[in-house]
């Protein structure tokens, strides 16, 4: 373990790391454009220069490995001057179109200009080199060559992470520019990440482009619900009402504008797949269910819950405990699954299709997995894969009148389509039941036949925990409010449990404390322990086999 000093403070660091990595670990800010921890080192932007004692010239912190007894200074006048000249060089032909640039507000050029440069350009605006603007690299990415600083983060991403090599540097010297080959657009399933890692406004997202200025957005750390990988992301949503009191102006419920990968080395590094990145749009595909319905009329959820409880109670008294059951979804949070299990006395299943076989299987080498539910592992950990045998088993029992009353909670898949045979089986199940309560996020036609239809909060509208394929417990946060009268499933179940005489809080934090007291797997874990980056659970539900593709 070499010992080194940075800015007069002594540190002990791991051999083989570079100076900028150590500085990031201990929280010393070194400006950088080309360095990114997950894509390899280039050393092209010359922003991270530091003074090393004994070296005649300044050294780039991203490409200098640490050595025993190194004395590094990052805040000297020499360093400041080097950064200022690097900034002037990078901004020499910058078009200064910040007013129309989507990066404006989160642009590293703006940040470092204010912090380190503050100069006037030596080129008047009319004499700057013009290059191609706003052309499509692929379906999700637009390139503006005037704003590009040639840090080659995007090139290294396609070379080292996706290994597809679509983006390249063309020409040499002052003619260098980022581009693609004519017949090979940037259309790999992870292309949206180049927009996230671009430090300037050169690469912008076609999906988010011109939707909103970034300073109106509020970021909520959350977890993707697109598949069982559970990538960490940040949901950017409207933070305050913009505009006057006209319908459609005032964002009282909030609106999600984009999602951005959040760095978690244990799960997804900094990356998101394009399907997961755009999965929040799936919530807008169908009209949302805004109020509860029974017998064709609209009612408030809170009025209907006592009736639902009485119905289940009378079925339970007349036909025994086995006549009621629940079919939940692997997109429900652990808190909701646990409370459902409590209310239905363990007679709960979650399997619609082949989730359990698929949840550990990779779809490709990077992130995506074949099971498109975020919490299959969490449902397995709670023992919800039981003798009820999933949707088909429940359908058989309902047709034999062994089960007469059921709660069905349905979330549409955020990525891909729900299999039509599953929806057909759900329709048959509702038809076979005497009393059915369907809680769902959207106004689906097949669900209208249910005795009671309840609106439910979807992903990003409820707080809770998911367990990903590898047994990592992660918190999904509420970014926006559920539409209309929609409740999260854990709140619906907490209310039903309250009616049956068990006092339960609606707060997922408190519900999780109950889970950690009762389920040995979660013993000693609470929301504080999970935090932003999740907590690995003690033991896996089953041994994890190594399956590739």
């Amino acid at each position: 373990m070499p010992k080194l000093t940075i800015d007069g403070q002594a540190y002990e660091a791991e051999r083989g790391k570079t100076v900028i990595q150590i500085a990031d670990e201990v929280g010393i800010d070194i400006p950088r454009y080309c360095y990114h921890p997950d894509i390899g080192i280039e050393g092209s932007c010359r922003m991270c220069m530091v003074e090393v004692k004994g070296a005649p010239k300044l050294m780039p912190a991203c490409a200098t490995p640490i050595a025993e007894g190194m004395e590094i200074r990052t805040k000297t006048e020499r360093v400041h001057e080097a950064v200022r000249y690097a900034m002037e060089f990078l901004l020499l032909h910058h078009p200064i179109d910040c007013p129309v640039c989507d990066q404006s507000g989160e642009c590293w050029l703006q940040d470092y200009y204010m912090a380190h440069a503050g100069h006037d350009s030596r080129f008047p605006l009319g004499q700057k080199t013009r290059r191609r603007k706003a052309f499509d690299l692929g379906p999700l990415v637009k390139l503006d060559q005037e704003r590009c600083i040639l840090c080659t983060r995007c090139v290294r991403f396609t070379r080292n992470v996706t290994k597809t090599n679509e983006v390249q540097v063309f020409n040499r010297g002052h003619r260098s520019e980022i581009g693609i080959f004519e017949d090979r657009p940037l259309n790999n399933p992870y292309s949206g990440n180049v927009v996230d890692i671009c430090p300037v406004g050169a690469l912008t997202s076609s999906d988010f482009r011109f939707q909103v200025r970034v300073w109106f957005l509020k970021g909520t750390p959350s977890v993707c619900a697109g598949c069982s990988t559970g990538c960490n992301l940040r949901i950017d949503h409207s933070a305050r009402a913009v505009g006057g009191g006209t319908p459609g102006y005032t964002a009282t419920d909030g609106k999600i504008y984009r999602t951005i990968g959040r760095r978690n080395v244990d799960v997804n590094k900094s990356w998101l797949c394009d399907e997961g990145r755009l999965s929040f749009h799936t919530l807008e595909h169908w009209p949302r269910l805004r109020s509860a319905m029974t017998g064709g009329e609209t009612r408030a959820v809170v009025e209907l819950l006592p009736g639902i409880h009485e119905h289940f109670d009378s079925i339970r008294k007349a036909y025994g405990n086995s006549a009621i059951a629940a079919l939940v979804s692997a997109t429900n949070t652990i808190e909701a699954l646990f409370l459902t299990k409590k209310y239905f006395d363990g007679r709960v299943d979650f399997r619609l299709g082949k989730e359990v076989e698929l949840y550990e299987q990779r779809q490709d080498d990077l992130l995506r997995r074949l099971d498109k539910h975020p919490n299959t592992r969490g449902a397995l950990d709670l023992g919800l894969a039981n003798e009820l045998n999933g949707l088909s088993g429940l359908l058989r029992r309902a047709e034999r009148k062994e089960i007469r009353g059921m709660w069905i909670s349905f979330h549409p898949q955020l990525v891909g389509q729900d299999a039509p045979e599953i929806l057909e089986q759900l329709r048959q199940l509702i038809a076979a039941l005497e009393f059915s309560v369907v809680s769902t996020t959207h106004d689906f036609g097949w669900a209208r036949a249910a005795s009671v239809l309840l609106p439910m909060a979807s992903w990003a509208e409820e707080k809770g925990t998911y367990t990903n394929y590898a047994g990592r417990l992660q918190i999904t946060n509420r970014a926006v409010m559920p539409p209309g009268d929609a409740w999260p499933l854990h709140a619906l179940m907490a209310e039903l449990l309250n009616l049956s005489g068990v006092q339960v809080s609606h707060d997922p934090d408190v519900i999780f404390d109950w889970i950690s007291r009762e389920v040995p797997l979660y013993a000693g874990v609470d929301y504080d322990a999970i935090g932003f980056s999740g907590a690995a659970l003690a033991q896996p539900a089953e041994p994890v086999p190594e399956v590739v593709r």
Partner: protein
């Protein structure tokens, strides 16, 4: 510089009011003098046409060049909207009355333009911050200050109404820090009939909508 008489910057005659009041005596003659003033005004109004009354609203006093009235969206030479939808005005607006939706402009040099630009005139406090914030002098203010509408929907001004309306032609431009304007123009129906790049795709050009602005009560 010698201090001006009476402490004013310009030479103002100083009058001792109490002194003057003491000199005036209330007599019968002063009553007749008052009648004479009234009669003189009567005859000058009748025969010389010198009336101090302003027939508002047909006549108004001249307003300042810096008057902060209802906004104007300015245009380029070809009649397309100058605004690039940068949201600076919406960001600075303390009343949060500006709503913008941006779209992709067919010309990559311009890149961005507003497909919707609404100002809620009932919320607006006419502070003029939007004019100061604008990097393109795309929004200025007029000397028009009447807000007459049959319902509240009409007080939300869209692009067409902000670009051209009878009030702008009648009252002229008001607060615009860059006077005379360097690049922007006020939309003129006569000269800017042809618009090569439409400011609003799939909708009629603002000039066509000019007549339809004054809605009649049903």
């Amino acid at each position: 510089m010698t201090p001006a008489k009476g402490g004013y910057a310009v030479d103002v005659p100083v009058m001792n009011v109490s002194q003057k009041a003491r000199q005036e005596h209330a007599t019968v003659w002063s009553t007749f003098r008052a009648f004479a003033v009234t009669l003189r005004r009567l005859f000058t109004s009748l025969f010389k046409g010198d009336t101090p009354t302003i027939y508002y609203p047909e006549q108004t006093r001249p307003y300042s060049e810096r008057f902060r009235g209802t906004h104007i969206l300015t245009v380029r030479d070809d009649g397309s909207l100058k605004c690039v939808a940068c949201y600076m005005c919406a960001t600075i607006c303390p009343a949060e009355c500006i709503y913008i939706q941006a779209g992709e402009h067919p010309n990559p040099e311009i890149e961005k333009f507003p497909t919707r630009f609404d100002i809620d005139m009932m919320r607006c406090i006419y502070c003029g911050f939007c004019v100061d914030a604008c990097p393109e002098e795309a929004i200025i203010m007029s000397r028009e200050h009447h807000q007459c509408a049959y319902n509240r929907d009409e007080t939300i001004y869209g692009i067409e109404k902000l670009m051209a309306r009878p009030g702008i032609d009648a009252k002229g431009p008001g607060y615009r820090p860059n006077r005379p304007m360097a690049e922007a123009k006020i939309f003129d129906k006569e000269t800017q009939k042809a618009c090569p790049i439409p400011s609003v795709i799939d909708e009629r050009h603002p000039a066509v909508l000019y007549e339809s602005m004054i809605r009649k009560r049903d």
